[in-house]
Structure formats: C-alpha cells, structure tokens
C-alpha cells in the first residue's frame, strides 16, 4: 500500500522533479561557463585571491534556486490534494493517517534532497579540479543554508497547503517567511559555519507540521 502511495506521489511530481533538476543543471552549466571565462580572462590566481582576500563567493547565482524548487515542489504535490479536498481519498486508505501523511511528506523531502545532493555533487566535482580544500569547505558552508532553505520551504509550503482554514494559512505563511529569513541572514562566505549543524535540523523540525494540519482537517475544522 505504501509503495502504491509513493507511486501516486511520483506520478504527481515526476515532471516537476525532472524539470527542477534540469533547470538546476542549466543554472550550474551557466555558472561553470561564466567561471571558465573568468579562468581564461583573469587566471585562477586572481580568482583565488578574490575568493580568499576579498570574500567573494562564486556560486551566488544559486542562492534562490533551492528555495524556489522547494516551494514549487510542495505546491505541485499538495495543491492537487487540496482541490475539492481530494486528500480525503488518500486518508481513507487502509493505513494510519500518520503513515499516509509522513509517506507523502517523506517522498517530497527525499525527492528534493536527491535533486539538491546531485547538484552539490556536480558543484563539488567541478570545484575539486580548480580549488583547494579550504575554499571548497568555505563554499559548502555558504551553500548549505541555501539548500536547507529549499527543504524548509518545502516543509512549510506543504503545511500551508494541507491547512484547512485560510486564516491559519496566513499565520502559517507569516511564520514561514520569518523562519526562512534565518537561512539568508548573511551573504558573507561561511558565515553559518558555527551553526550549520543546527541549521540542518530546521527542515526536520518543520516537516511534522503538515500532519498537524491534516489532523485539524480530520476533526472538521474549516472556513
């Protein structure tokens, strides 16, 4: 039953997931081409100098891509469920509601995580050829909060979609905007290095919120 549920989620989101991955790859290709041009024009020594001594970050264009992906994936997955309250059908499956909701949320989170991990692998593979470990480490600390923002946006947007009342959706959205700011407090490279392990926990903290809204839906709270 769980695999059938996951298949349903895959059917709903596959084109979006493939599209998001492709758009991400296109974005990275653009960044790599831009960097390749800089390598040829000014040389790697100058680029290293700019990164190390002038605190520049080469992958700044990636900043809002994970956020947009997380937000859109949640919409693609849960808006169809909420149109004409189709989620009722899913909740009537012979599985506990908890298992149903967490399977759906877990699927989305894993799909998103797979896209992001593949992107990070591509970035790191490119980077190890041109940069030493010190620069790569700083790069990872700078990128991680942006990718975590994508996962957090997914968890929050799912919660907002699954919420049965509009009034509460507005409060949920306000909480989402404020919380997401936590991942964009500074553009300074590796600014999050002291708290990165805590930042990684934010999406896991928010993910169960969707189940709370489903329970509110189940007990009949509505506009």
């Amino acid at each position: 039953m769980t695999s059938a549920l996951l298949f349903k989620e895959w059917k709903k989101t596959k084109w979006f997931a493939i599209g998001a991955f492709a758009v991400g790859l296109a974005l990275l290709t653009y960044i790599f081409l831009k960097l390749g041009r800089s390598f040829r024009m000014v040389g790697l020594e100058h680029l290293w100098d700019v990164i190390v001594n002038r605190d520049q970050f080469l992958f700044r264009d990636v900043k809002y891509f994970p956020l947009a992906t997380g937000f859109c994936l949640a919409l693609a997955q849960f808006v169809p469920e909420m149109i004409q309250k189709r989620i009722k059908l899913s909740l009537h499956l012979p599985l506990s509601n908890r298992k149903i909701v967490f399977s759906m949320l877990g699927f989305g989170l894993l799909a998103l995580l797979s896209i992001f991990v593949l992107h990070l692998i591509v970035i790191l593979t490119f980077s190890v050829f041109y940069f030493p470990m010190e620069i790569i480490e700083s790069m990872v600390y700078t990128l991680l909060p942006w990718y975590v923002a994508g996962l957090t946006a997914y968890a929050f947007t799912s919660w907002i979609c699954l919420e049965p009342t509009w009034k509460r959706r507005i409060f949920n959205a306000l909480l989402m905007f404020a919380s997401l700011q936590l991942c964009f407090l500074s553009d300074f490279p590796a600014a999050y290095s002291l708290v990165v392990s805590v930042v990684l926990l934010i999406p896991l903290y928010v993910l169960p919120f969707g189940y709370f809204s489903v329970q509110r839906f189940k007990v009949g709270i509505q506009d």
Binding site: G43, L44, E45, H46, L47, W48, D49, I51, V52, N53, F129, Y130, F131, P132, E134, I135, S138, Y141, R168, F171, L175, A178, S179, L182, L185, S186, F188, P189, A190, A191, Y192, S193, L194, V195, Y205, V206, P208, F209, Y211, F212, Q215, R216, I221
Partner: protein, 404 residues
C-alpha cells in the same frame, strides 16, 4: 498531535523573540554621535567638530576651553590633520614643538589604523599570499602561489591546484630549524599589491610564539619575535608605515596593545583606553607629534593622545554615548534573540535578557491566556500557561494563534 502543536508554538515564540525586539529597536534606536576629536599640537588640548543643536550647525572648538574656531582657524589649530590644506595654502609652520615640519616628515609619520571586532571575528579561508620582499621591481607582483599552514607549510599553485613540493620543503626546513610549533594559531599579513613594500606575515604558532615570515630572493626568511614575559598574543594586524618604524600591532590577552618595532623586533607597549578587541573599535590617527587613540565602545568614545616618539601618555578625553531614553521594552519583552551582530561576521544565536519586572507581565499574560481558553470553551492546558509565564508576550501571541 499535541507535541507537534507545541513544536509550532515554540518556533512561533522564538521567531517573535527575534522579530518583535528587532522592530522595537528599529523604531526607537538613536545613533551615538561619533564626534571627530583630535589632539591639537598648537593648543595642547583636544579639539572637536560637533553639531550644535541650538545653533543648528557644526561648530569647531577646543574641548578644554570651549573656544570656538572658524574653519580656517581650525586648520591651523590642527596642522597635522589638515596638513595638505596648510601646505597648499603655505600656512604650515616651519616647526612645531621644536620639530621640523615638512611634507616628507608629515607623510612618512602620518597614518590611520582601524581595528573593528568584525575584522577579527569572521570566517576566513586559511590560504595566504606571500609576495617577494626584494623583487627589485617598483610594483609588488603576484607570486604565482599561495601557502597553507597545517602540520607543515605548503605552497599551492592556483593554476594547477597542485602543491609545489620543492618550495614547500625549502620553507618547511626553515620552520623546523627555527622551532616553529605547528599548527599555527593565526597568520597576519596584508595580501595586497597596493602597498609600498612587503613585510610578509607574522604567524602565531601553537605555543603562542610569534614568527616573522618573509620571502627574500625566493628564499625563506623566518625570525622569532622575542616576547616579554606575560605577553600572550590574542590578535595581530600588520601595517606598512612609510617610515618603516614598526611591523605590526599586537593585542595581547590582557587587552594591552603593543607594536613590533623594526628595532630588532622589540615590542613597545602603546598606552590605550580600555579596549576589548572582540567588542570595541580602535582607531589610531597618528602624526609626527602625537598618536590619537580612539576607542569606540557601547559606553561612548574614549580618546587618548600619546607622544609619537616616546609613546608616553599625554592627555585624554571622553564622549559619553547618547542616552537611549527609557527602555520600556524591558517591562514587556522578557528576552530577545539575535543572530547577527556588528561585532562578528558569524551567524550565531545571541540571547539578551530583560528585567525581572517582566515576570509580572508574564503572569498577567498567562492569566489572560487561561481566561481566553475558558471563553473559547477549550480545556485548560498547563504547558502553554507555563510557557507563557516564561516567555511572556512571545509565548502568549504564539499560543493564541497556534493553540487550536
């Protein structure tokens, strides 16, 4: 189910504890006046430029006598600060305090040096560019490699991203020979080609010893700096003054300031106002006669003048920070959470706690919450009431919104 509700309330509370005080400060904060203050070698007193609220314009005055000056008079009172203007007008005295004054002397002894807490407390990539100190070229040129300090010194070629083993070995031998203890705690240098000359790096090793590293004719130059007893370096910043009288500023763990002089690397103490390099800003405005040391802290600005030659204390003045008015927030905001600070480039949670008086308003809010719950005909829940008693207005708003 209930646990998830509490997770939402806790998150809502924390977000409010961050954003509500931030909004309050956005509305109520006042700028502290950073009044320009400089020691006059003519008046032998501090002079300042400040805004006169009554007259509605800037006034230039002697801080001790309160005598006011016109703009042109003020140039003459502070000849070292306005030296360019005085040389251009032909108004610069030939000598001051028995010291010959000419453009060469002024330019070689005049410098500005600023240290902000965020200069020290920021993430940095531990790769360093070591320029050739005796390049025989007018301009400093990029060396074609950078070095890292791990359990040895390694030079890496950026074009190939490979280690230059030969050069690394050459330098490493020198480090071992001089007794350098890896790993290094910090390295201070100025990796810029826009400077008059190159003096390399001052590196603090694992045993708090300072070493001077230079590259001279492509060969390593490493010299240990003799430190007086009790001086443990906390932060170093190098400088290339035109008169080549010193290499670097050393802040030690006792919050004292020293310079590493070019006279056999001897350390000279620089008297300065109380300054915590992690919290306060230091600005040194030096001239051939006096060094002005400005320390800007939460309390205001403290300015000392010291003799440029002997580094002996001469005079001091202070400017008290602006009264922020009554901080009403302490009566209704029990605490606040911040993630950024002017003192650091790192993101990290910082908690500020309010007055104990806020516990009273917390209890009133907890009571109000209990009454609202009764009015909503919900069951009284102990946890949210306790939570509001601790977190006050933040917990109250979060519980009212997300309790159902």
């Amino acid at each position: 189910m209930k646990n998830i509700k509490y997770l939402i309330i806790v998150l809502g509370t924390m977000i409010l504890a961050w954003l509500l005080p931030k909004s309050y400060h956005l509305v109520t904060d006042k700028a502290s006046p950073n009044i320009f203050t400089y020691y006059s070698s003519i008046d032998k007193a501090f002079c300042a430029i400040e805004f006169d609220d009554v007259k509605g314009h800037l006034i230039r005055k002697n801080v001790k006598t309160n005598k006011e000056y016109s703009e042109a008079e003020f140039d003459s009172i502070l000849p070292m600060f306005y030296s360019m203007q005085l040389f251009s007008d032909g108004r610069m005295p030939k000598s001051i305090n028995g010291k010959d004054i000419n453009p060469r002397v002024v330019n070689s002894k005049k410098f500005f040096f600023r240290v902000k807490p965020a200069d020290k407390n920021k993430p940095h990539i531990p790769l360093y560019t070591l320029f050739e100190s005796m390049s025989k070229r007018v301009r400093i040129e990029m060396p074609g490699d950078v070095f890292r300090l791990t359990d040895r010194i390694e030079f890496i070629n950026p074009e190939t991203n490979e280690i230059n083993e030969e050069k690394s070995e050459l330098f490493n031998k020198q480090f071992i020979k001089k007794g350098f203890q890896f790993p290094a705690k910090m390295a201070a240098g100025n990796p810029s080609t826009r400077k008059a000359y190159e003096e390399g790096y001052f590196i603090v090793d694992n045993k708090d010893q300072i070493f001077h590293l230079k590259m001279v004719n492509a060969k390593p130059f490493l010299k240990k700096v003799p430190l007086p007893d009790g001086v443990v370096p906390n932060y170093l910043q190098t400088m290339e003054p035109d008169d080549r009288s010193f290499y670097a500023f050393v802040f030690d763990t006792n919050q004292e300031l020293h310079i590493i002089t070019t006279n056999a690397y001897s350390l000279q103490e620089i008297p300065m106002p109380e300054c915590d390099v992690d919290k306060d800003q230091l600005l040194i405005m030096a001239n051939p006669l006096y060094w002005n040391l400005n320390v800007v802290s939460g309390k205001g600005k403290e300015v000392w003048a010291i003799d440029a030659d002997t580094k002996e204390f001469v005079d001091k003045t202070s400017i008290v920070g602006v009264e922020q008015g009554v901080n009403y927030s302490k009566y209704f905001l029990p605490f606040s959470v911040g993630f950024t600070s002017g003192n650091t480039r790192y993101i990290k949670p910082i908690f500020y706690f309010g007055s104990y008086l806020v516990l009273l308003s917390n209890l009133i809010l907890a009571l109000a919450f209990a009454m609202i719950i009764r009015y909503r005909k919900q069951k009284i829940q102990i946890l949210p009431v306790v939570w509001i008693s601790i977190t006050g207005i933040y917990g109250f708003i979060a519980s009212i919104i997300f309790n159902r």
